[in-house]
């Protein structure tokens, strides 16, 4: 474990740690373009030059391994001068079109110019090398003039997706990045190309000209798109989600997320959302307050007793599931969660990068809480046999299954918690408005049995309420209050009753999640499949 000193601060690091990594640990950001923590080192931009005592030349921090006793200066006169001149070189052929560039506000050129540049321009600007601009590559827009040729996109395609659709052409100061014949990017990880690009050369087509990034507020969360549970940021402005971005977690998704996951923010929007409770009247739906609806539901559950059945959803958070299970237990009704394909695909990959076959974020949480109890088939059979008086659905999935329509028709009272409108809701008797994942605090347990937090980023529309709160409302009316007024408190209750979750709470889970006792066959997610 070598010890070194960086800008007067001492640190002991693991063998093989590079100077740039050690500096990160100390909170010192050495300027860089080409270095990325999850891509192989390339050393081409020469931005991270630092002065190391007893070494005659400046060294690149990204490829210099810390040796015991090393004394590093990241901002000495020599190093600062190198940062200035490297920036000046990179800006020679750059168009400096920040006012019309979407990257403005999260651009390394801008940031580092403010931090390390601020020189008087010495370049005469009239004879820049001209390259291709506004090239539509499908999900990505390319502007080759803004590119600093750091090769992050090329390395991403080589090392992460293995697609190799990005490459350089030509050489010297005529080098450009491009796809072959400017063909569109067809893989499902294109959004990451815009993320890894440190400048405005690769931009998201979806986010193009939408918003200046400094208006956005970021919230730590977890993607609900599949059982991988990629860590993300939810970026919103004034309560409206504008984009999702990967949040680095080396144990789960490194710095990446898939495009289908990235697109999920679009479902949060207000159109087609269910914003209030309703009950079926004699002729049509009648709007009621959530309180009234819960009164009705509680009464029916009380009346039905063991003739009630509960179907949880793996889309729910652990807190949702815990409250829902508590409700089923209080009613002594049947309980399960599986809908559709009965096989547990929680760990099955559908590509070599991140995506898994199980499109639910919390199947593992359902299993951990023992929600695979009575079997969906048994519940459906009981419905069909007329043995179920009240059926409570935590999500609308079952209503969409054509094969069980006849069985559901036999149940006199079907309650569904739903987020969005859909024709299937007409098969229910009460619709309770539920908040979506980005509107509530909570936790998911991913395929590795890693418990991860998501935080409410935006307010739910109308009276939409987190599912755990809906269940808690019924419990309250049944005289068995859950004893919690927040997702955090629900989790604390959960932790006392679910094996392996003991002693955990939201704070202990933190930003990077907490791995539970190893699940069988669980492996790290990102790249080992090709390794």
């Amino acid at each position: 474990m070598p010890k070194c000193t960086i800008d007067g601060k001492d640190i002991e690091v693991a063998d093989g740690t590079t100077v740039i990594q050690a500096a990160e640990e100390l909170g010192i950001r050495i300027p860089r373009f080409c270095w990325h923590p999850d891509l192989p080192v390339d050393g081409n931009c020469r931005m991270c030059l630092v002065e190391i005592e007893k070494m005659p030349k400046l060294q690149i921090a990204c490829n210099t391994v810390v040796r015991d006793g090393m004394v590093v200066h990241t901002n000495s006169e020599k190093a600062a001068e190198a940062h200035r001149t490297t920036l000046e070189f990179l800006l020679i052929n750059h168009p400096i079109d920040c006012p019309v560039c979407d990257q403005a506000g999260e651009c390394y050129l801008q940031d580092q110019y403010m931090g390390h540049g601020l020189y008087d321009a010495k370049v005469e600007l009239e004879d820049k090398v001209h390259k291709r601009k506004v090239v539509d590559l499908g999900p990505i827009m390319l502007d080759a003039e803004r590119c600093v040729l750091c090769s992050r996109c090329i390395r991403f395609e080589r090392e992460v997706t293995g697609t190799n659709s990005f490459a350089f052409v030509n050489r010297g100061d005529h080098t450009q990045i491009t796809t072959f014949e400017e063909r569109p990017i067809t893989h499902q990880y294109a959004g990451n190309l815009a993320d890894v690009c440190p400048v405005g050369a690769l931009l998201s087509h979806d986010f193009r000209f939408k918003m200046r990034v400094w208006f956005l507020k970021s919230h730590e969360s977890v993607c609900p798109g599949c059982s991988t549970g990629c860590n993300i940021f939810v970026d919103e402005r004034d309560g409206e989600v504008q984009r999702l971005r990967p949040r680095r977690n080396v144990d789960v998704n490194r710095s990446w997320m898939c495009d289908p996951g990235r697109a999920l923010y679009k479902e949060i929007g207000l159109t087609a959302r269910i914003t209030g409770a309703r009950v079926r009247g004699a002729a049509s739906w009648e709007g009621v307050s959530v309180e009234e609806a819960l009164d009705l539901v509680a009464q029916r559950i009380k009346d039905s007793g063991p003739a009630s059945a509960f179907l949880a959803t793996p889309q729910g958070t652990n807190e949702d599931l815990f409250a829902f299970r508590s409700l089923a237990d209080a009613a002594k009704g049947m309980l399960d969660f599986r809908v559709g394909d009965p096989h547990l695909k929680v760990r099955q990959r559908i590509d070599d990068v991140l995506q898994r076959a199980d499109r639910n974020p919390n199947t593992q949480g359902c299993l951990d809480q023992g929600l695979d109890r009575d079997g969906v088939d048994a519940i459906v059979a009981a419905c069909r046999a007329g043995k179920i008086q009240t059926l409570v659905l935590q999500g609308p999935e079952l209503l969409r299954v054509a094969e069980v329509v006849d069985a559901l028709a036999k149940v006199p009272f079907v309650v569904v918690m739903a987020t969005h409108e859909g024709p299937e809701l007409d098969r229910a008797h009460v619709v309770l408005p539920a908040a979506v994942w980005a509107e509530a605090d909570g936790t998911y347990t991913n395929f590795q049995r890693r418990v991860q937090r998501l935080r409410g980023a935006v307010a739910a529309p109308g009276e939409a309420t987190p599912r755990w709160e809906l269940a808690a409302g019924v419990l309250e009316r049944l005289g068995e209050p859950i004893g919690a007024t927040s997702a955090r408190e629900v989790f604390t209750r959960l932790a006392t009753s679910v094996p392996d979750y003991e002693g955990l709470d939201h704070r202990a889970i933190g930003a990077q999640g907490r791995a539970l006792a190893p699940a069988e066959e669980a492996t790290s997610t990102t790249q080992e499949a090709r390794a």
Partner: protein
Amino acid sequence: MELTPDNLKAFEEIVARYPVKRSALLPTLRLVQEQEGWISREAMEYIAKLLDLSPAQVKDTASFYTMFHLEPKGKTVIEVCTTLSCALGGAEKLLGHTCRKLGIEPGGTTADGRFTVKEVECLAACGGAPAVQVNGEWLEHATEADLDRVLAGETVRRTFEWPKSPGEHLLFQNVWKENSTSIDVYKASGGYAKLGEWLRFEPEILIEEVKKSNLRGRGGAGFPTGMKWGFLPKESPRPRYMCVNADESEPGTYKDRVIIERDPHRLIESIVVSCHAIRSKTAYIYIRGEFHEGARTLEKALAEARAAGYVGKDILGTGIDVDIWVHRGAGSYECGEETALIESLEGRRGQPRIKPPFPAVVGVYGCPTIVNNVETLVNVPLILERGAEWFASYGTEKNGGPKLYSISGHVVRPGSYEAPMGRITLRDLIYGEGYAQGIKDGRKLKAVVPGGSSTPVLTADEIDIAMDFDGVAKAGSMLGSAGTVVMDDSTCMVWMAKNLIYFYKHESCGKCSPCREGTGWMLRLLERIEAGEAQEKDLDLLWKVTDSISGKTVCPFGDAAIAPPQSTLQKFREEFEYHVREGRCWKSVAPTFEEAKAKSGRAVSA
């Protein structure tokens, strides 16, 4: 587009030479270009399928190298070298004449598709300036009359006639013999005679002998060869590779070419014994793409050596296997840098790798690799034959062995000469009766680039120095690859710096920011200065740009590129200032700077 059955067979043979398929990319591109005349989009997609690559990867590599034509070219391709020695020999006039006659710009193709004329960078034919290649065949000392004949459809070839060196010939002993490339001539001179004996030595003994000899690498850096070999990891299960650097491209340097074109078996035997010393079973000769004749000569010699059992499996019954393959480059100076050479050999852009790791630990295909220059290797048999002590004492202290010196530019008898290292001075080389015989046309010496374009220029007063690594270093320059370019007093030093910066800008691989952007910036500044459009502060800016590149690039290219502007600014600043002050080049005023200065002095006083 598909390869013909014969070419497909050739392709399969090529792929079999490499442990990794992508290595066949450069040869396959060449094969397709030979068949189709150029490399189309369809061809790139076809090659991508053949080699399990993406089309983008194929184009990435193909577009890096100047010899691959991604657009249709003429039936006859005329390539005119315009780098320093050839430019001193009138290349620009020759190029202008040819283009004017055809009515095209450099790089253009005639409308009837008969001719393409390209301006190319140093062809390692500096003695034969101005040098031209017509469809890859040498036309050295080319004249306007020669090119008129080429344009008339005639086949005109001319290869430089290597002048004899004075004194003892060790490396060059066969060069002037009849049929010097044949195995019989080589064997008659004692070649291959001791190979079996050497292969029976323990490799460590051979390495020890090379270490003791003080052999220093002849590629430019002068690094001790034995020490380099000693860096190979002792315990590694991976195979080891030898890469022979035959990418001779440093402007002013044309010495390896003599060995390759005139005495290929000397190189082959040297490779076999060196491979044994480093326990390598495979060597790739990375030869620059423009050495068409050299590659043919080597292939023919290798076939002879294989047939005679000197190359291949169980050489001379010793149980030692050494395979040697010729791998041709495709037009890129940077591929002479050892890690860029390795990248190029692997079928990628010729861009350097960051070090560490060093090639001796992680080289080609991730395996321990030694990259040695042609001239370095041909010294190895000499060391084994005559002993390390003899070698170390032949030459000067710490600069053992014979040395090949190339000299070109404004001299009477340009050529590549052999002499004991450091036993001749730069003055001897320029003025010696046995060497270049002085300045052409009785003019005055003005400046000398002593060791290839990357070495700082010396003035006429700085030539009394021993031509070895330490002697030239003492004068503030470098022996480099010992490619000396001589300039007389008619040469404008601003023009000279601009000519070389044009070369470096053209050859910058583009990987790292300071070199990629800085070479272009220096060129723009020098163009402005030469045209008389610059201001005094531009001279300081030029200096500052060189300073900003210095020591900050991935490979030594950056430091090489700044040598011409830095050293000319230091030693000939007066000429730069003249351009700024007078708003023009002094050459438009008088044939020498001294005369121009005198004139402007009169103008000022009057």
